[in-house]
Symmetry: C2
Subunit: 163 residues, 2 copies
């Protein structure tokens, strides 16, 4: 049975549903307690002055069942690029082409903006996602590693530097 | 012999030197022909309206010998973060503490901005950089892979979607 859905740009009132999707992905990625962002944060950061991201949502009827969220980045080799931070479809609506439609909307958005590259990250065990991306012309690089300093590490680094 | 240097925020007039450093890094990373950005691009993207990045430079006398360049990102789990795109010291001035000073200036900048995380990527064979980062409290993740669609792949994807 075909599921009818539509894709549109998110509005501030969608952020409650979007946060539920973010939480669902964190649980899927085995980090259920990692989400500290609130609905108010998402509204302020996405729809206030100097918006930090652009979000698309997928709707079935009036239910938000998926989202794609990203923001500009900059390559010192190529110029302006776009980063896809999250692409999420709620579990019960997977396998219906909604993820592909969200992905297409995001790529079309990057194309309209004239960016030189669209980029994202994927967990190496998520082979179905990797297959989907490579089938659609993306390159997967296994020689880059992601490095992060969290708030605590930043504070410790600053404290040490001042001693 | 100690080399005296200073760190400051870059100005548009520094972009010619910054581009030389970018080209030097591309050569070090075995991709000498990958840089298509021009000095004019860097001036427009970094110092025009809606600046896409912030850059710090290291100076010895009036010579630019290093740079750190980054921009905001957004974590749907944590909130606003900062990305370090490039940290470069010209080869003849390596080993004098200039890289560490640029890195410190960038971390301090993130701390002032109150970001939840500072992140970047490193090539897995660049073990001296990885050692430096982990010594300073960063975590290196080897389970994330970087995925990219370049302009050509974006165009092909859009063309196929329209058929």
């Amino acid at each position: 049975m075909k599921t009818s859905f539509s894709i549109r740009k998110a509005e501030a009132t969608d952020m409650s549903s979007v946060l539920n999707l973010i939480q669902e992905l964190a649980t899927f990625e085995k980090e259920p307690d990692a989400v500290i962002v609130t609905e108010q944060d998402l509204i302020q950061h996405g729809f206030g002055q100097d918006s930090l991201f652009t979000c698309f949502v997928a709707e079935v009827g009036h239910q938000i069942v998926g989202m794609a969220l990203g923001y500009p980045r900059y390559s010192t080799w190529k110029g302006p690029t776009l980063h896809l931070e999250d692409l999420i479809v709620t579990n019960s609506f997977k396998g219906k082409g909604i993820g592909r439609a969200l992905f297409s909307a995001f790529i079309a958005f990057g194309h309209e903006q004239g960016v030189k590259r669209i980029e994202w990250a994927v967990l190496d065990w998520n082979t179905s996602a990797i297959d989907f991306y490579t089938r659609n012309g993306a390159l997967v690089f296994d020689d880059w590693q992601v490095v992060q300093m969290d708030e605590k590490a930043i504070h410790q680094f600053i404290s040490k530097s001042q001693n």
